[in-house]
């Protein structure tokens, strides 16, 4: 049993990570008793599980993820949503409306039109079919106000922060509603457009400086200065 990396070492596809009795976590594959990275990222080992925290990549839906989708197509009783993934989300009318939709009598577009945005959770996804979404729980549904920005999905954990530290700070400092979709979309609803613009700028800063220390304090300082 040997590992060939320092914790948080930068690795790339093909890098040999370990040999022996381990388990492969995210972005690690096993071949002939050896563990290799399949991605560019930071190698990590926890409880004998070797994984690589990706630095690049696209969003792959996981059941339970909260995502923000944009309607790109209406089919008789469902909407197709762009969720910044190779796979479009499907939102069936029964998972969005509180009453059944009769496609013969009314058009789905009346309730949710192309271009509109929805906060939803992923119910099921196995890559053979499109991920199915639901927007019926509390806090989910059509977005009526505020700003939505796209961010690099690999930066989502940083925007949320350890145990939500970053996002809690952002909300506390500004009093705005902020929701970070796992798919790299952030919804910001503040007191004014100016306020929303400042928060968006702060999030861009987190994205750009994701790998630096003392970031939470610097972002707080940034917000204080900007809103003075």
């Amino acid at each position: 049993m040997t590992t060939f990396f320092e914790p948080r070492q930068l690795v790339s596809p093909g890098t040999l990570l370990a040999e022996g009795n381990y388990q492969s976590g995210f972005n690690v594959y096993r071949e002939g008793g050896k563990y290799y990275s399949s991605m560019v990222g930071l190698a990590d080992i926890r409880n004998n599980v070797i994984s690589v925290i990706p630095l690049r990549g696209c969003y792959i839906p996981q059941p339970g993820d909260v995502v923000i989708g944009k309607v790109v197509e209406c089919i008789s009783t469902a909407w197709m949503l762009d969720i910044r993934s190779p796979y479009q989300g499907v939102l069936f009318a029964s998972e969005f409306l509180s009453k059944p939709l009769n496609p013969l009598k009314e058009e789905a577009r009346r309730y949710l039109d192309i271009g509109e945005m929805v906060i939803a959770t992923v119910m099921a996804f196995d890559r053979t079919r499109n991920p199915s979404l639901t927007a019926r729980d509390h806090g989910l549904g059509k977005i009526h106000r505020g700003t939505v920005i796209d961010v690099d999905f690999t930066r989502v954990p940083r925007i949320i922060g350890k145990k939500g530290s970053m996002i809690t700070m952002l909300k506390k400092e500004t009093g705005a509603q902020i929701l970070v979709g796992q798919n790299g979309r952030v919804w910001i609803s503040g007191k004014s457009r100016d306020e929303e613009a400042i928060i968006a700028e702060a999030i861009r800063k987190i994205e750009a400086e994701a790998h630096t220390t003392g970031l939470t304090d610097r972002v707080r300082e940034f917000l204080v200065n900007k809103r003075r």
Binding site: G14, I53, P54, R56, R127, A210
Partner: protein, 247 residues
């Protein structure tokens, strides 16, 4: 043609027309993340050969009927800019470009975990801005970095290089002049950590012994290219290493 007029490509003491030794590769500079609108990109300057690669995907396959139900569909589009060679070249893809697109795709696909993304497309767009030999090798090597930049899961990087026979001698990393005057050209693509040859072509005439020597030389060359690829990844992402403790 008189004997004195013939330009020698290799000097008496084994130095090539651009000053390299027989087994020396040209200066190679890779750069990742050079384009904004792609999911991943890379640029390479390989001697005077200059190539830009952009990767789109994995994304929904268009048209949908081309999607594969068990894996991603990989396509490579190798194109030479009309101004990339001595004489103007029609921008319409030639038969050479069609074939190269195919073998480049087949050189990269074994590296990609295509089974992770059924029903999607991964498109690799290669634009040769200046051609000075070994464009397919440079394209493959740069494309594998563009795939890394796109965050597409892969088994290994694919490194590629060519061996040629010039004035009866085997030379590593053939440039245009050597290719045109040479007796043979043999490009190979290789995944060093998998010991896997993913592209192998040859034209010209070589003996069986020269073939055996070429394979050794190609492996050595591919490993050198591989090192340069890793260095480019390091330098592009080095900012990410310092810290992430708050995440």
């Amino acid at each position: 043609m008189s004997e004195s007029k013939i330009e020698r490509l290799i000097s008496e003491d084994g130095i090539r027309c651009d000053g390299r030794r027989l087994d020396e590769i040209r200066p190679i500079k890779f750069q990742l993340g050079v384009l904004k609108n792609t999911d991943g990109s890379a640029y390479v300057e390989w001697g005077r050969t200059k190539i830009l690669v952009g990767v789109m995907g994995p994304r929904e396959s268009h048209p949908k009927h081309l999607a594969l139900s068990d894996k991603a569909r990989v396509e490579a589009y190798y194109r030479m800019a009309s101004f990339s060679v001595e004489e103007w070249k029609s921008p319409a893809p030639s038969r050479r470009e069609v074939e190269l697109s195919k073998v480049i795709r087949e050189a990269l696909e074994p590296a990609i975990f295509v089974e992770f993304f059924p029903r999607t497309s991964i498109d690799i767009f290669i634009e040769v801005l200046q051609a000075d030999g070994s464009t397919r090798c440079a394209s493959i090597s740069a494309a594998s970095l563009a795939l890394v930049d796109a965050g597409i899961p892969m088994r290994d990087l694919v490194a590629s290089i060519a061996v040629g026979k010039v004035e009866g001698k085997l030379v590593l990393d053939v440039q245009d002049k050597e290719d045109k005057a040479g007796e043979s050209d043999m490009p190979m693509a290789y995944m060093p950590s998998k010991n896997a040859v993913t592209l192998l072509q040859m034209d010209g005439q070589i003996t069986h012994d020269e073939f055996l020597q070429s394979i050794e030389l190609l492996k050595k060359g591919c490993i050198e290219v591989y090192k340069k690829q890793k260095e480019a990844i390091e330098s592009h992402f080095k900012g990410a290493v310092s810290n992430e403790e708050e995440a």
